[in-house]
């Protein structure tokens, strides 16, 4: 098997491992959106075309709280602005012209980006795509189930499912900080920035601002 196919399979396996959690979170989105009066079609379309838990929950929560469409859109864009930074990081792995690159870039989601990160600024394109595929299927499928049969799992938090993603990211983080002292420093600065900003800024901002922790790399490399 070629290395790229092996990577794709590794990605598929990793993505499949977290797919059950993605599925259940999507179910909870379907239930929430249905409760908010979105009907049957809109929540499913949202999952198909937006494919982002953070943005979709942000939308639903702002509209639920009586916010305008403008406020909801702004919140969703802010929480997803981190993908602009992540996109710059993975930019070099995608292939083809602008249209193909734009389409390939859509496979960038948090978990896949982190899994595809090979350290030293390198990313694995096939692993990224392989990991995203099962998550997409689970995300759309879970939304459909939530919209139609939501009463079965009305509260994913009661099952402790809100632990899954932070714990998964923590697992990947522990791998990262083993790479060296700069990695530990970047993580500590990011933690401090995020904790300080959460009470004062709209959701999404602390995560983007925390990326400044990576600028610690400039300190030693400047001549």
């Amino acid at each position: 098997m070629t290395p790229s196919r092996t990577s794709f399979r590794t990605g598929l396996r990793a993505g499949t491992a977290i797919a059950p959690a993605v599925f259940l979170i999507a179910v909870s989105f379907g239930v929430l959106a249905r409760d908010l009066g979105w009907g049957i079609v809109a929540p499913i379309v949202a999952s198909v075309v937006v494919f982002s838990g953070s943005a979709q929950f942000a939308l639903a929560e702002v509209l639920e709280a009586g916010g305008t469409a403008f406020a909801a859109i702004l919140a969703a864009i802010l929480v997803n602005a981190r993908f602009a930074v992540m996109g710059v990081a993975v930019a070099s792995v995608f292939r083809g012209g602008p249209v193909r690159r734009a389409l390939e870039a859509q496979t960038t989601v948090d978990a896949s980006w982190a899994l595809a990160n090979q350290g030293g600024g390198r990313f694995d394109r096939e692993l990224l795509m392989g990991a995203t595929l099962p998550q997409y299927v689970a995300w759309v499928g879970g939304t459909v189930v939530g919209v139609f049969a939501g009463d079965v799992i009305s509260d994913p938090d009661a099952l402790g499912l809100d632990v899954v993603f932070p714990a998964f990211f923590l697992y990947l983080l522990l791998d990262e900080v083993r790479r060296g002292p700069d990695y530990v420093a970047a993580a500590l600065i990011a933690a401090a920035i995020a904790l300080v900003l959460v009470p004062f800024t709209p959701p999404g901002i602390p995560i983007i601002a925390a990326c400044a922790g990576a600028l610690i790399a400039l300190r030693r490399r400047e001549p």
Partner: protein, 101 residues
């Protein structure tokens, strides 16, 4: 209902543009070494932020609750070299049980 559809459409387009911006504008070109060095550290920075915000924030509030306990248990299990999935399951179970109390 119009607000819902408008929001979904605009966010879908915005999300597409946000994700495509870097890969399209930068193309496949090699980045300067300093930029690569910063990108290398984006991993730990971004993951830390996702863990902190996902675990301790509820809107604009910081709180230590059943979820945080679950994440801590999973983290402890990782350090004890428990494989990823059982460790996460242990964390989820911890949060679920704490909420039953």
């Amino acid at each position: 209902m119009t607000a819902v559809w408008t929001s979904i459409a605009v966010v879908a387009v915005a999300n597409f543009v946000i994700k495509a911006a870097g890969p399209v504008l930068l193309g496949g070109r090699e980045l300067p070494r300093t930029v690569v060095a910063v990108i290398a550290l984006l991993g730990p920075a971004l993951l830390t932020a996702l863990v902190i915000v996902g675990t301790f924030s509820e809107g604009s509030d910081l709180r230590i609750d059943a979820q945080a306990a679950g994440v801590a248990v999973a983290g402890g299990a990782f350090l004890l070299r428990v494989p990823m999935l059982p460790a996460i399951a242990l964390g989820a179970l911890t949060a679920a049980l704490l909420r039953l109390l």
